[in-house]
Symmetry: C2
Subunit: 342 residues, 2 copies
Amino acid sequence: MRPTVHDIAEAAGVSLATVDRVLNRRPGVRAATRARVEEAIGRIGFVRDMAAANLAKSRSYSLIFIVPGGDNSFMVGLRAEIDEAIARSALERTRIRVIDVPPFDPARLALVLRELEKDPPSGLAIVAVDAPEVIAALDRLKELGTAVVTLVSDLAGPFRDHFAGIDNFAAGRTAGTLMGRFKRQSGGRIAVVAGSMLVRDHQDRLAGFRHSLREIDPMVEILDVMEGQDDPKKVHALVSRCLERENGLAGIYSLGAGNRGLIRALKEAGLGAGKPVVIAHELTPHTRQALQERLIDAVLNQDAGHEVRSAIRVMKAKADGLPVIEAQERIRIDIFLNDNLP
Amino acid sequence: MRPTVHDIAEAAGVSLATVDRVLNRRPGVRAATRARVEEAIGRIGFVRDMAAANLAKSRSYSLIFIVPGGDNSFMVGLRAEIDEAIARSALERTRIRVIDVPPFDPARLALVLRELEKDPPSGLAIVAVDAPEVIAALDRLKELGTAVVTLVSDLAGPFRDHFAGIDNFAAGRTAGTLMGRFKRQSGGRIAVVAGSMLVRDHQDRLAGFRHSLREIDPMVEILDVMEGQDDPKKVHALVSRCLERENGLAGIYSLGAGNRGLIRALKEAGLGAGKPVVIAHELTPHTRQALQERLIDAVLNQDAGHEVRSAIRVMKAKADGLPVIEAQERIRIDIFLNDNLP
DNA sequence: CTGTTAGCGCGTTCAG
DNA sequence: CTGAACGCGCTAACAG
């Protein structure tokens, strides 16, 4: 049988209340008594039963997710994963709420965060935009005791407790290597489609891609980045024009969203055997089908379900001051070919 | 506030004990009463607090892992992950025990399983060997109420509740596609090293590999499989001889363990630019370094830590008759290049 | 068949 | 500064 608070009390010759005060680092215990209790805790190897503690506190974690709205397939999938987590949350003393914000709107985001200060949640997971007012607001929430987790897009610095997302530089490097090795011959021109060069994820991916592709194949020519704003229509227009202009394109790297437009452009171009090697990000119904039809050669993915579950685990752990299992919370860069689709 | 058993009792006009009997499907309740209680449960939307229930029961899950001994790097890593889980298990009302068995020894395995019948654990995770006596023993344990999870190597059929491992056929297909696309020119001879063609994982991987590689490059010639018994020394001898004999080998697929031997043979051969494309399984310290030194081109991996944690979650859930989150328990086929190493 | 009561391990009053 | 007593949501004896 595992030792309990009673055992500590007995071993230290004090009462339960005193043990509790020591355990929860509350004032009102003489230093000597405290030392005695702590010694007893160490000696008998006590570990607190968090389940029982939470029951006694009737603690219920209030967790908030802030995600950008819009019809971006990836974000839609992310929302779906959060909804599933909400469905399960009743079982787990957890109240999860989602707040939608317009994409790429720091002012609005900061406003929402200020609102939260009135009733600070135990945890906040946020698809962050890198702006001073956002960082300031997060900082204040942290002061108020909220555990802050950045989701998908990171924000370097001390204003967050954890990042639930992938290493985008490594993802770009991986795409570069795959591109270099999938091409049938060295050299050639490579097109790159991004959402916007203003967000860090996309910058990092591009930098990684350039780096590793040039290393593998110095002869390659990487064309100017096309920015499609993650909008299928814009991406379609850009890629169509590019395919017309550039005869015999060797490859296309789509590092943002809006892949529906890319796929449509590829189909319309009706390329044959010499089709460019295409690498895209995020497994959605569209990219999945394109992979099966061999229109896309590889998809790099971040598992939104894993990100959401991980964010929840981390927020709870941080709220309780508990350690997290690093390996479990590492979000992998998934590589999908037509052969290993889930 | 969430409804509790008290609320049910009040709503149904019965006592707590009766509610408890209904909730736990225990006998001793008239059908009519039972119906009333069930109606009330549905009406007020009650969900049982498992943490409180487990506390009251002072339930503690006893979980057993059975893994083959030996110095195979992958299995060593698996054991390490189990040990970490054991270190955490004190916090989670879980007693985890590991039993080592000699590898590939069905008789011994069956014996160990028979021993367990005396005091059936709540859950059993086993790296299974596909043999009738093993299956029979597992079947009996299931009868006794043990949740059975196969680990790494599956056993098709109803004698297990869950498989914590990868789809090896898909893994082989993925390796085949990577091989076909990483080769600089079509055709050529490909060597395959396996542990033993008697285990299912290896059969499946080979079949998948053949399938997809032939589809991508029909001109390729796949040499006879070399069986190295997952033993570095044997693998080294086999590969060395093969490299000597086969001048200008286009690729090597190592679908088993013992990669230390493969790597040593590659180094000794001192191949230059025309070195074969090498694809191996399982990320270990050795394969990781070989990937960094560009001796190996890609490593397919199953995350042992994920497998262990997943097995534990599933055993607990099955023991409680709770549902599992399928997506969370799916073990991915990780693809590692030099760019995305964790 | 049904109800009463005493805990499970911990947190939190409210007296001393 | 310290201790006794009650309750969190649920289970399990033991009565009725």
